[in-house]
Each structure stands twice: as C-alpha cells, then as structure tokens.
C-alpha cells in the first residue's frame, strides 16, 4: 500500500517534533566547495528511500529530474537508486546496498547526491565517503527540526518543509468570514499530540475570536459522530490521526476521509495528501515544489555557487469540488491559491484561445460583411447603371423611331394603298358577267403579299421600339441585324436619295442583345445620313461593310459620302452632346459607344480617303461552346 510519504516522514520525526515548533532553522551555508567538472556533464544521484511505487517520493524525484533536465537542456547525467529501506530496514541490507553502490559508481562518482526523505539522508551521510566521495549532499522531505535532530553534517544542505497551521487557518477564515466556531481535530498518537500542542500554541491568538474546541482523545466513531453535528458556521482544522483513542492505527488521510464524509462543516488541513480526502484546502508544500527547490540547489552546487538551506515554498491549495460542496467562493481564496480538481469552464481554460478565435471570427465576419455590402453596392450600382443604360437606349430607340416615322408611315402606306386598289378592282371585276377569275386570283395573291409586307413593317417598328428591362443575350449573325437596320432605314434613305449598299462576306456570329446592336447601327447610319444633307443627291451613298478581323473580331464599318469629320473633332466625337446638326440630340454616338462597350467591343471614327466619314465598331466573335 502506498503510504503518505510526507506524513510518514513527519511521523518518523515525531520525537523531535515537539522541539522544533515549526520555527525556521537555517543552517549556516557550508563553505563553498569549489566543484570543478571538466570535460563531462555533471552527475546527479537521486536516492529514493522506498521503492518506485511510492507516489510521494516519486513525485518529488520527478520534480528534481524535470527541473534538472530543463535547466541544463539535458546536459546532465541523472542516476536513480531506490533504497527500499521501508521494507528492508535491517542494517545488513543497508551495508550491502552501500557496498553495491560503492562498486556501481566507482567509475562514475556523483557530483551531487539528492537524498529524498530521512532514510535516504541518513544512508548517504553514513556512506558518502565510499559511494560519493567529495559530492555535495542535498536532502529534502523533512523539516529542519528533524534535520537538526539527525545531526546532519554541516556541509549537508536541505530543502525543508515546514508547516504553518495559522496559514491554513487564514485560508479557512477568508473562505468563511461568518464562521464563529473553530474545531481542531487530532489523533492520540504521540505525533498527533505533538501536532495538537503545536497548533494550540500557534493558534492561541487567532482562536480567541472563535468558540474553539480541540477534539482529541476520541475514537474514530466518535470523531465521525461529532463532525456530523458541527454548527454550519464552523471551521474544522485537521492535523493528523495516526491513532485514535481506542488505539486503532490509521493512515491519517483515510481517517480524515471517513470523518469528513458526513461532516456538517468544511475541513481544512496542512497536507496536500489530504486533498481529495475531504478537505477544502490548506497551506501546503507539494512534492513537486520540494523536488524543484532541491534541484535548484543542485544546479547551484554544480555551478560552484554557494548554497544554503531553504524552506520549501508553501502554496495555498484548494479543492475546487469542496469549495462547490460548501458553497464557498473562490474569490475569497488567498491570492495565488492553486485549485485542484477544477472543473474549469471552457472559457476559463481557453479564454485566450476563445478570445483570439472570436476576434478572428469577428474580423473575418466584418471583412465578409464588408465584402458582401461592397458587392451588393457594386451590383446595385451595376444594375442601376445598366438600368440607366437600358433606359437611355430605349429613349434613343424612341427618338430613332420618331425620326423615321414619316418614312415608316410611307413604307406602310404602300402595301395598304395597293391592297385597297386591288380589293376594289377585284370587287368591280366580280360584278361583271364573266369575271376573270385568274386575274382575281392574282389580285388575292398580291393582297396577301402586301398584307405580309405591312405586317413585317410593323414588326420591325416594334423591334425598333422594344424596351429591355434586362439584356436579352442571344447569339446571332451580325449581317442579319445589318439587313434589318437597312430595311428600317430604307424608306428614309430613299426619301433622301441616299443609296445604301451592303457588303458582307461570311456569317459573323456575335453574342449580345440584337435590338441594342441594331440601335448602334441605326445611330451610326442616321448620323451618316444626316452628314450627307448638303451633298448632291446623286452623290449620297451609304456603305455597310462587315468582316472578320485578324484578331477574330467582328467588325462593321459604315462609310458615308458626307463632308467627313474635322480632324480636331475626331477624338471627342463620342462624347455626349457633341452634335453637328441642329436637330440632333447629341446622344446617338455616346449611346452607341456605351452599348458597344457593354458587349466588350470598341467603337471609333475616321475619315475615308474619298472624303466621307467611316464609323467602325467591333465585337468579340462568338465561339461555339
């Protein structure tokens, strides 16, 4: 069974305990021994008093080892020996052990020996000259009083653990400021009694403010019974119970576990081993802290620095589960208190990570939101500008239709006039005695054709006026749109004695809204037609030429025989409100430019060598797939 090393060691020291009264005893620092280690790493021998299963010494030893490796970055030789003096306390075993170690370390004499616990300390002090001649001896795991009682040589330096029950009481008072009762529990063994005596002396002043009761000379059952009926405003300090009044032996923490299980008030104690056995907490020395402190001494020794006895650092330790059990607030704990068994919330454990994560998420969210807002704004702006463009194009379409009304009406009146005359002719023919049915049939065919003609004109007009809310993306042959534009312009051109000719080579597929592209052509063509007003009627020509460029662009040029564009005006000709004619809106060319650019094309103007102007635009060739 694993026994409590600290308590054990205290028990072994019980005879001396009465004298020590826990006051600080500092051995004078031993004269600095110059320790020169040349050409090799330092050797540290750790002596464990028992076997490797004793948790307390193992924890202390691990503290030493971890600290040494960490401080020297692994440049150190650490040896461990488990003396097993608890199960083999006989002198012969110790002698054999000493011989064995003397032989074993003959070639590798330790520079420092760390003895954990009194047994180890006694062993090495006795055998130091054979096992580790010239080595520094460091001890820990017991009080300075014990050390004095052992009469350790003056060059042996230690880390001593002292117990101050008043500090444990301070912790209790902090947690229970309303408490009015104080109970101090101790067993009937000599050590227990000495502890009680110590506590009486130490607590004398502080206990005056409480209704204080020392529970001693009770059997375990009596302890349990009394503890179950403590007033709720009680502080209970437990010292040690190695033996109860009935003479029954206990491992103290097991006894305390039994008593505290059904107690009606919180327990406090000076040993870390009591934690998890029912106490709320106390002022304690941990084994790890002992190990680290003694390792620091070893490091100083190896480095040749002077070393002196030190007290092991004491820590306030509390059991988070017990705090919760008794409804005590952790904020009332003394500063620096270490909480064990803390069921920390995710927030408490990882607040930094959580904050960082949240910050990242918030930052990302902000960026994403910003981008979304920006995208929405951009889309809205695009839609708005596209909407405006569509609106503008429609106004432009209407203006074109308006300008062409006369010629369109003229165009429409032709078939209507023909239909009327044909119909009346047929009517008259039918009134005759022998109607020429063949002629009548011919008339009906003509009527049908003229009706179709009229319908086509109206369809073209509708196409011209078609309003778009969205771009109607279609793939089509640019030549078809050129033909349709020429048809729309035909009557007007005829009226103005303008001869339109068109030269197309091959099918030129583009992807766009054909109504828009038709509008571009109409704008350029009407612009060209207007430019020929002052030209002799026989010299008015408008030439459409489409082609595929080397850069795989579909290009249309519209050449007129007007007076051309003055050189200085070539650049700004597509600017809004640039107009050369009194009736023009000045929007035809800029709208044409906007449309062409919407479909990833470009538009430009030039003068032809023959004197007229040439307007060109290109569009990307639509590729299948």
């Amino acid at each position: 069974m694993v026994r409590d090393w600290k308590v054990r060691s205290s028990r072994f020291a019980q005879n001396s305990f009465a004298f020590c009264c826990l006051c600080l005893v500092i051995f004078m620092a031993a004269p600095a021994v110059s320790m020169e280690i040349v050409g090799r790493v330092p050797r540290i021998l750790i002596l464990y008093p028992y076997d490797e299963r004793i948790a307390a010494t193992t924890a202390a030893g691990e503290g030493v080892r971890t600290r040494l490796l960490e401080a020297t970055e692994g440049k150190i030789d650490i040896f461990s020996e488990f003396l097993d003096l608890s199960r083999f306390p006989e002198t012969t075993h110790k002698e054999k052990m000493a011989h064995f170690l003397t032989d074993k370390y003959a070639e590798r004499r330790p520079d420092v020996v760390v003895a954990l616990g009194e047994e180890s300390a006694s062993f090495i002090v006795t055998n130091r000259n054979s096992i580790a001649p010239g080595a520094r001896i460091l001890v820990t795991g017991f009080s300075s009083g014990t050390a004095r009682d052992m009469r350790l040589p003056s060059d042996v330096v230690g880390v001593f653990n002292e117990y101050d029950i008043t500090k444990t009481f301070e912790l209790a008072r902090g947690l229970q400021p309303q408490a009015r009762h104080l109970f101090i529990i101790g067993g009937s063994a000599d050590f227990d009694r000495s502890w009680l005596a110590t506590a009486r002396a130490e607590l004398a002043d502080l206990a005056k403010n409480y209704e204080t009761t020392y529970l001693e000379d009770l059997t375990i059952d009596e302890f349990v019974e009394r503890a179950a009926h403590f007033p709720p405003d009680s502080i209970v300090l437990v010292l040690t119970i190695f033996k109860d009044h009935a003479g029954r032996n206990f491992i103290p923490r097991e006894a305390i576990k039994q008593i505290s299980a059904t107690a009606s008030a919180p327990f406090y104690g000076p040993y870390p081993t009591y934690i998890d056995y029912g106490i709320v907490g106390g002022n304690m020395v941990t084994f790890e802290a002992l190990g680290i402190a003694v390792a620091n001494l070893a490091l100083d020794a190896v480095a040749g620095r002077p070393i002196a006895n030190v007290d092991a650092p004491q820590t306030y330790i509390a059991d988070a589960r017990q705090l919760k059990r008794w409804g005590l607030s952790e904020s009332d704990l003394p500063p620096g208190t270490v909480q064990w068994f803390m069921q920390r919330t995710l927030w408490e454990q990882h607040w930094l990570a959580i904050l960082a994560t949240l910050a990242v998420i918030v930052a990302q969210g902000a960026v994403i939101a910003g981008l979304l807002v920006e995208r929405r704004r951009r889309r809205a702006a695009e839609l708005e500008s596209r909407g405006r463009l569509l609106e503008l194009v429609h106004l432009n379409q209407s203006a074109t239709a308006g300008a062409l009304t006369a010629s369109i009406a003229h165009e429409l009146y032709q078939p209507l006039g023909a239909i009327r005359s044909n119909a009346e002719a047929a009517e008259l023919l039918l009134q005759g005695d022998a109607p020429d049915l063949k002629l009548i049939k011919q008339i009906l065919v003509d009527i049908k054709d003229d009706d179709q003609r009229a319908g086509d004109i109206i369809a073209r007009l509708r196409g011209l006026l078609k309003k778009r809310k969205e771009i109607d993306w279609k793939e089509f042959d640019l030549n078809e749109v050129i033909s349709s534009a020429i048809q729309i312009l035909g009557p007007e051109a005829k009226r103005r004695n303008i001869v339109i000719s068109s030269r197309a080579t091959e099918e030129l597929r583009v992807r766009a809204d054909r109504v828009h592209i038709q509008q571009v052509i109409l704008n350029l063509a009407t612009n060209a037609m207007d430019a020929m007003l002052d030209v002799a009627p026989t010299d008015r020509r408008l030439v459409f030429q489409s082609r595929l460029t080397k850069e795989s662009k579909v290009e249309l040029s519209i050449t007129d025989t007007g007076c051309g564009i003055p050189g200085e005006k070539l650049v700004g000709i597509f600017d809004a409100f640039y107009t050369t004619k009194p009736s023009g809106t000045g929007l035809g060319l800029p709208i044409a430019q906007m449309i062409v650019e919407t479909y990833a094309g470009k538009i430009w103007a030039d003068n032809s060598p023959d004197g007229g102007a040439v307007f060109r635009f290109d569009l990307p060739l639509a590729r299948n797939g």
């Binding site: 009146y413 032709q414 006039g417 023909a418 009327r420 005359s421 009346e424």
Partner: protein
C-alpha cells in the same frame, strides 16, 4: 353619261402599288401603261398616246414633283393626278400650285381616283 376613255399612265416605283392601280383602272375600262420611274416615263416610246398621268410623288431618282415641273416646262398640258404615301404638306401645296387634278393619299378609295381621272379626261377633251 358617256364614258371617256383615254390611256392612263401610272408612274409608280412600288410594283405592287403600280400593278393594283393599273388593275383598278382596267376594271373601270381605262387602258393603262405602267412606268416604274419618272425617267422611264420620259423615255417611253413617244408613239404611245397618254391622256392622263397618275404619278407617285415619292419616286426614286426624279421625283413626281420634278416630273410635273419638267412636263410643265416643256409645255405639256397632260393632266396629273398625284398619289402619295408621304404626309408632306409642303409637297402637296407645291403640287397643287403647279396644277394637278387631284392629290391622293394612299390608301385611297377607288372612287376618288376614278372621279379624278374622269375629270382629267374631261378637261383634256375640252
């Protein structure tokens, strides 16, 4: 009433319109001769006698008005009936001023054309 009959020339560049007018006139018993342009009319075989001219105002090349002016300039008294699909009051005023029997807007009722031709032939035969 005695029916007057003389050859009516139809100068109209729209083939269907020209054809329909010629049919209408034929149905009413008038011999017709069709010309697709003013130039074609002027260049016709002068042997053929024309008693009345149905003339489209808006001809490609020489316009109807120009033909009227030219005929007047050479001293022709050929009665002219204008037919047009244009709505142009200036042209109409000019045509009327230059002296025409009628100025008809397409599509026109057959009776207007026939009445105009009858009065043209009547005036010509006076």
């Amino acid at each position: 009433m005695e029916r007057l009959s003389g050859t009516v020339a139809v100068v109209e560049d729209d083939p269907s319109m020209r054809r329909s007018v010629q049919r209408l006139l034929s149905a009413h018993g008038f011999p017709t001769e069709g010309f697709p342009s003013a130039e074609a009319f002027l260049g016709r075989n002068s042997a053929s006698r024309i008693d009345c001219l149905v003339l489209d105002v808006d001809l490609r090349g020489m316009s109807g008005i120009a033909l009227q002016r030219q005929l007047r300039d050479i001293g022709s008294a050929l009665p002219i009936i204008f037919i047009t699909a244009l709505e142009d009051s200036t042209l109409e005023a000019e045509a009327v001023k230059a002296g025409c029997i009628a100025y008809l807007h397409k599509p026109f009722p057959a009776s207007l054309l026939i009445n105009a031709i009858n009065s043209a032939l009547a005036s010509a035969s006076e």
